[in-house]
């Protein structure tokens, strides 16, 4: 309906929202989800009326006082076929529509801005690449696709923003993603919808949608001064990763520059693709990801790095376009001091 008549649609949703029986629409997919929802209710109401009318009319017409002798009917193949095929057709139509919407909601556009979310009992921690951290809050700009890469530090959680009509489970041990494009400035509910223990219902927050200018101001005000990649670099060095992954000819580990997104030939003959989740898993379970030509000597970092630290490391490796800085760090700093800032990495 949002396609057929935008004006009518706006009127309808405004009216429904006014009576508090309809959530606000604040993302590009929200009207699409609402259109399907209305269609489904239409289907339900028609189905109800049909069944209700059949039962009612038959009950009145064929009640025992009026119709004392029942007429025995075997069945009817034609009728049976009709009420098999018509519901099947409707359900398949709903399936296709739902699948289209699902792919729309879960396949992020390539240019989406990245934000990391760590769920823990009982708070949401958001980390922007520019080093802004927030708890039980999320600031996003309008008109720009935002992708959340999420992981849980303990149990299953689920990140839900009803006004955007998006939700995704946040799982321990693996990254899940969700994206949206916010349309209307305002503050909206952020819920944890997967039962996660005592304070499950307290794990709520606010999503603040800002105009691009306001968002720019917000990022400048609330940066901690260190981007995620810079934090990652510092960790990379303090954990000693740079002693093997230093890009020299004698290095015991492969070069990491440009590794993100590439296909890697493994020791066991398989090829693996370096995604966020893959990078995280290599740090935690290196013995399962040995690249061809290297020995399985990397120790596991399980238990030594927090989920936030892993996000920093992954973000650092993702942004490692050349190996130059890595070598330089190895040569110039032998301590755990912060590496010099790299201004081109601070972009949110």
């Amino acid at each position: 309906m949002s396609y057929i008549s935008p004006v009518l649609w706006q009127f309808l949703t405004k009216w429904l929202t006014y009576f508090a029986i309809w959530p606000q629409e604040a993302s590009t997919v929200a009207p699409m989800a609402d259109a399907l929802y209305l269609f489904l209710w239409g289907m339900t109401v028609v189905g109800m009326i049909l069944v209700g009318a059949l039962v009612f009319v038959f009950s009145v017409r064929y009640r025992a006082q009026k119709h004392p002798e029942a007429v025995q009917i075997e069945g009817s193949t034609l009728l049976e076929a009709t009420w098999t095929i018509i519901p099947l057709g409707i359900f398949l139509f709903v399936f296709v529509w739902g699948a289209w919407l699902y792919f729309r909601i879960y396949n992020p556009p390539a240019n989406a801005m990245q934000i990391y979310i760590v769920g823990k009992q009982w708070m949401w921690k958001a980390e922007h690449p520019g080093g802004q951290h927030e708890i039980n809050a999320l600031h996003v700009p309008t008109g720009r696709p935002v992708q959340l890469t999420m992981i849980s530090q303990d149990v299953f959680h689920s990140y839900s923003i009803p006004a955007f009509r998006v939700k995704r489970e946040v799982i321990p041990g693996r990254f899940t993603t969700v994206w949206f494009n916010a349309t209307t400035p305002g503050t909206y509910h952020l819920f944890c919808t997967q039962y996660c223990g005592t304070l499950h219902s307290g794990m709520i927050g606010e999503v603040t949608v800002l105009s691009p200018d306001d968002y720019q101001r917000w990022t400048e005000q609330s940066t901690s001064g260190m981007s995620l990649a810079q934090n990652g670099e510092r960790l990379f060095n303090s954990l000693g990763c740079n002693s093997c992954h230093n890009g020299t000819a004698a290095a015991r580990g492969p070069v990491l520059a440009g590794v993100y997104g590439s296909k890697i030939q493994m020791d066991d003959g398989t090829t693996q693709i370096a995604t966020d989740g893959w990078l995280r898993d290599t740090i935690l379970n290196p013995s399962q990801h040995v690249p061809a030509g290297y020995k399985p000597i990397m120790p596991t970092y399980q238990g030594q790095v927090s989920e936030e630290g892993l996000i920093d490391l992954v973000e650092y490796i993702k942004n490692l376009k050349s190996n130059y800085r890595n070598q330089q760090t190895l040569v110039t700093t032998q301590s755990n001091n912060a590496a010099p800032t790299t201004p081109d990495m601070v972009k949110p």
């Binding site: 119709h67 029942a70 149990v155 839900s160 939700k167 996660c196 005592t198």
Partner: protein, 552 residues
């Protein structure tokens, strides 16, 4: 509204001198019985107890949600309340209710057998059920459990200090009760049908219990495995679900829903059977498209095993596997739609009366249609993202399981009450109860669809204030619903002593169970019956009655 004309000996009638109820006396004769009818009664009493226990928790939950702040009880207490509500209702009420009570009582009689194939295993099933129930009560007394009935790992294995193992044991044991019951039914239906009782002369109640039994036998062991792994993970940390040890937390979801989705059909299929019997009897017509209804039960049993991952659309399963499971979910919705239309058309050209079981059956059709169609919302991938884990899903499955299954159960209990006890229940108050239940139900659960679409998550102890109006409505509805459930308890209890004598066939129904005395003899039939009529053959019944009358 007319009542069906009864055979002339009703006014002076007394209960038969000898019946399964007075065949033996004393508590021990009940506790050691091998009679399927007595075991069914044991189940009926115990299941009723657990239903009201689960209902008490539901009441506490609704009372807490009357206000947006968690003021009635602490968060942990609330979590224990909904966990107990779920566990008691699913494992101790919904799954066993129709098969273990009505099925146990009726299946042997309906197929013309003296008992189930394994009477002692049948008694063992009841003991397992009771031991399981005792473990649930024990975990309650010891301080409760707050995993939610879904036992999601790693919450249940690593983060809770409540009585998870005790409860897991309870479910493990109760699961075996269900497996044995299913096995018993399958063997009985295959091997013990009376001469002439062919597969396509079986009452649809037998067909639907047969399909449900297959699911119990195939599905329940997987639940037992999942729950055992949870216990092992908790005690010795085997790590199958722990990502830190290379395990996969999603594996638990797969195992759990591999049982728990079919479990929905285990609950609802026997209910379908009840509805087929009731609608046919009170419209005095054979069920429209008997074969389609029978086969749609089997189709549900088959398809039901291939849709479990539709509980995991938002959990990071691959988009393409989501696509497959969504498609299969749509397919499994079709057989249910077929049944709804078959029941509706059974009424066509019938001679319809509106006794209490029929009113419950109409309630079932209405509520189950809404429940089924809102299931299509959730099977639709993009829609599921917004709706799942909210009150919409709570409303949906309560429509299916409470609106559907429980209405069917009450319909069946009223329908076969005269057969089970030999006495009628009081008709007008029971009609009032049926209507009260229906209205209370709609009022309780319809607002939850709305509040769910607004985004209110399930299992919330406190919630944003704007959801309050709908929650107040829901709680008010729950009060009405509670009255609707308490009434039958009172008047059915009353009827045990004061109810009118029912006679053998008060509804003028065609099933074998109505051709024997009420309440039946321990051995059901004095001699093995020979079945020469199709199921729901009312013309045969009329002829038979005429012959009896002329004989008198």
């Amino acid at each position: 509204m007319s009542t069906i004309v009864s055979l002339p000996d009703q006014s002076t009638a007394t209960l038969p001198k000898r019946s399964y109820l007075n065949a033996e006396h004393g508590l021990l004769s009940w506790l050691l019985t091998g009679d399927h009818k007595r075991i069914a009664m044991l189940y009926l009493v115990s299941i009723t107890f657990f239903f009201f226990l689960g209902g008490f928790f539901a009441g506490m939950i609704r009372l807490e949600l009357l206000t947006p702040v968690g003021d009635l009880m602490a968060a942990d207490t609330y979590n224990k309340m909904f966990t107990m509500h779920g566990i008691v209702m699913v494992f101790l009420f919904l799954v066993p209710s129709v098969p273990a009570t009505l099925g146990n009582f009726l299946i042997p009689i309906m197929i013309g057998a003296k008992d189930l194939a394994f009477p002692k295993i049948n008694l063992l099933s009841w003991y397992l059920y009771m031991i399981g129930g005792t473990f649930v009560l024990a975990s309650l007394v010891l301080g409760g459990v707050d995993t939610g009935w879904t036992f999601t790992t790693p919450l249940s294995t690593h983060y809770l200090n409540t009585h998870v193992i005790t409860t897991a044991t309870a479910i493990f044991i109760a699961g075996f009760s269900s497996i044995f019951t299913g096995l018993n039914f399958i063997v009985t239906i295959h091997r013990m049908r009376a001469p002439g009782m062919t597969w396509f002369r079986l009452p649809l109640f037998v067909w639907s219990n047969y399909a449900a039994s297959i699911m119990m036998v195939l599905g329940t062991p997987v639940l037992a495995i999942a729950i055992t792994l949870v216990a092992l993970e908790r005690t010795i940390g085997i790590g199958v679900f722990d990502p830190a040890k290379g395990g996969d937390p999603l594996l638990f979801q797969h195992l759990f829903w591999f049982y728990s989705h079919p479990a929905v059909y285990i609950m609802i299929l026997p209910g379908f059977g009840v509805i087929s019997e009731v609608i046919s009897t009170f419209s005095r017509k054979r069920v429209f498209g008997y074969t389609a209804v029978a086969f749609s039960s089997v189709a549900i049993a088959l398809f039901g095993f291939f849709v479990w991952a539709h509980h995991m659309f938002i959990m990071g399963v691959s988009n393409y596997s989501a696509l497959v499971f969504s498609l299969l979910t749509m397919l499994v919705a079709v057989p249910s739609a077929i049944k709804i239309f078959n029941w509706s058309f059974t009424l066509q050209k019938g001679s319809i009366t509106f006794e209490t079981p029929m009113l419950y059956a109409f309630g079932f059709i209405g509520l189950f249609t809404i429940g089924g169609l809102t299931g299509v919302f959730l099977g639709s991938l993009g829609m599921d993202i917004h709706l799942t884990e909210t009150y919409f899903i709570v409303a949906h499955f309560h429509f299916v399981m409470v609106g559907g299954m429980l209405m069917a159960f009450l319909s069946g209990v009223h329908f076969w009450w005269p057969k089970m006890t030999g006495r009628m229940y009081p008709e007008s108050i029971s009609k009032l109860a049926a209507v009260t239940t229906f209205i209370g139900f709609i009022l309780t659960f319809f607002p939850q669809f709305v509040v769910g679409y607004l985004g209110m998550p399930r299992r919330y102890h406190a919630y944003p204030a704007e959801f309050q109006v709908l929650n107040v409505l829901s709680t008010a509805g729950a009060t009405v619903l509670g009255v609707g459930y308490l009434l039958p308890l009172l008047y059915l209890g009353w009827s045990l002593k004061y109810g009118a004598i029912a006679g053998n066939n008060p509804w003028q129904a065609t099933g074998l169970e109505w051709q024997i005395q009420s309440p039946p003899l321990t051995e059901n039939f004095l001699e093995t019956p020979v079945v020469e009529w199709e199921a729901y053959d009312y013309e045969w019944l009329a002829k038979k009655q005429q012959a009896e009358l002329s004989h008198v």
